[in-house]
């Protein structure tokens, strides 16, 4: 009995020690009206935050460990992976960050900023650890990490640690209030690119697409059961300039079938800009080929 109580006390003490130490790993980013969100100290002068929750402005005040307030400027944002970085007008002592791998069922400790230089903590499990995925905004996330814990809005953007103290990623909100983590591997991949260019360039045609079934009469000719119908075309965008109109059904792009979104999304990375793919499409019951030029996606 005593032994069990000791284990529980040890577990609790270990968590409290971790939470205390994690104060150095976070900052509170003031977002106005007395509110803040959390940022993760990535390097001595670089803070990582959740892009979707960071107001669209250039300069912020951040509260660092134990209370000193520094100014910070946006150094880059990537809606595709939900990563934004801020450059501090000073430096802080960065904690060593070791990338950890999320395992379903493992303990997860999410740290948030309390706004006064301290940390708040959330304990839960890795609810699900899965394969890489593509976000609705076109970014590639290295692993799906769903967390079984609650998070306050002010805690979003903080680090999530495993039992060994390794960093699984940055906490953020998925659809319907679900708490997920952007994996450390994704942050490691994106931060250097953001530091260099301030953004992640993505290819763009200027169309909104929805999957449709290919009409029976054309199944044999096209050898495809589904395609992407053009629902709208951005005025003067690359697709509009190539004469693509709403109602066209795109079957393939440079020979790659549009049967799956992600198959297409991965062809529109930074290196796609300037390429001139052939679009095979159905228009008015006929299959035609149109050439377009991929441009860079304008900032949202």
């Amino acid at each position: 009995m005593t032994g069990q109580a000791d284990l529980l006390a040890q577990f609790s003490n270990a968590l409290a020690t971790r939470a205390e130490a994690a104060r150095n790993a976070i900052v509170a980013i003031r977002v106005g009206h007395g509110r803040h969100i959390t940022g993760m100290v990535w390097r001595s002068e670089i803070v990582v935050a959740s892009e979707q929750s960071l107001p669209r402005k250039d300069d912020f005040e951040v509260v660092t460990a134990d209370g000193p307030v520094l100014t910070a400027r946006i150094a880059g944002r990537d809606p595709g992976t939900n990563i934004a970085i801020l450059r501090l007008a000073g430096s802080v002592a960065p904690p060593p960050i070791a990338a950890g791998e999320a395992h379903t069922g493992a303990v997860a400790l999410a740290i948030g900023a309390d706004g006064m230089g301290g940390a708040s903590a959330r304990l839960g499990l890795v609810n699900l650890s899965g394969a890489e995925w593509h976000s609705r905004r076109g970014g590639l996330i290295d692993r799906r990490i769903v967390l079984d814990l609650r998070l306050a809005r002010r805690e979003e953007g903080g680090p999530v640690f495993d039992a060994a103290g390794a960093c699984l990623g940055m906490s953020t909100f998925g659809p319907r209030g679900q708490v997920i983590a952007i994996p450390t591997a994704t942050i490691e991949r994106i931060v250097p690119l953001l530091l260099k260019d301030g953004r992640i360039a993505r290819g763009w045609l200027g169309v909104a697409l929805q999957a449709v079934a290919v009409p029976d009469a054309l199944r044999e000719t096209t050898d495809q059961s589904s395609g992407l119908m053009v629902m709208s075309v951005v005025e003067d965008g690359p697709a509009a300039q190539a004469g693509i109109v709403a109602g066209d059904i795109i079957l393939s792009i440079d020979g790659k079938s549009t049967h799956r979104f992600w198959n297409i999304a991965r062809q529109f990375g930074a290196d796609s800009i300037g390429r001139k793919p052939d679009l095979r499409l159905i228009r008015s019951g006929r299959v035609i080929t149109v050439q377009t030029t991929i441009a860079e996606r304008p900032a949202a």
């Binding site: 209030g177 697409l209 999957a211 449709v212 992600w262 999304a265």
Partner: protein, 187 residues
């Protein structure tokens, strides 16, 4: 009827304080609130509800309905473009101690691109028929519009119901809109 329920009743008049930086917005919101039968009171007066255009002042202790504010923890969160009936409904609900959210906001958050295989995709013709259903057209009118027989119209509508898992036209239109919202990809 409880006090809370009486506030929900359409005849209940509530005291509403309006917080808006822009005088034009404030005037417009005052009009909406007054036309819904409520009493507009001064910003600092005793009020049942505060209607804030965007964010309200920190430390507000009265129940708040925000239009496009960033604080999702407030009892009432509507979009900036909420219409008069939504504003009225939200004011009544929040003053009665309920929480008001817009379905779109429940979907906010960093989500995955949805793959569309796994359910039956609609054909271009079915999408056309769906558009006419959304306009509330009769089968006869649809047949004329699309230049197809009445029989073919019925055939397409049955197929739409089956693919969308809908029992009525309204349900089919709603479910298709939901799909479109989740599955539209921009490239």
């Amino acid at each position: 009827m409880s006090e809370a329920a009486s506030k929900l009743a359409p005849s209940g008049r509530l005291r509403v304080a309006i917080y808006a930086m822009d005088p034009l917005r404030r005037a417009a919101l005052s009009r909406v609130v007054a036309e819904a039968g409520h009493i507009v009171v001064g910003a600092q007066d005793i009020a049942d509800v505060v209607l804030a255009d965007g964010d309200c002042l920190p430390g507000e202790t009265r129940p708040v309905v925000t239009l496009g504010g960033a604080d999702y923890d407030l009892p009432g969160v509507l979009s900036r473009h909420a219409d008069a009936s939504q504003i009225d409904a939200a004011i009544r609900a929040v003053s009665a101690g309920l929480i008001v959210r817009v379905p779109d906001m429940m979907d906010a958050g960093f989500g995955a691109m949805r793959e569309t295989h796994g359910h039956a995709l609609l054909t271009p013709r079915e999408l056309e028929v769906l558009a006419t259903l959304a306009e509330g057209m009769t089968n006869k009118a649809i047949a004329r519009r699309l230049n197809i027989s009445l029989h073919t119209v019925k055939f397409h509508i049955e197929s739409l119901f089956r693919k969308l898992g809908a029992r009525t036209r309204t349900e089919a239109v709603a479910k298709a809109a939901e799909r479109r919202r989740h599955e539209t990809m921009t490239l």
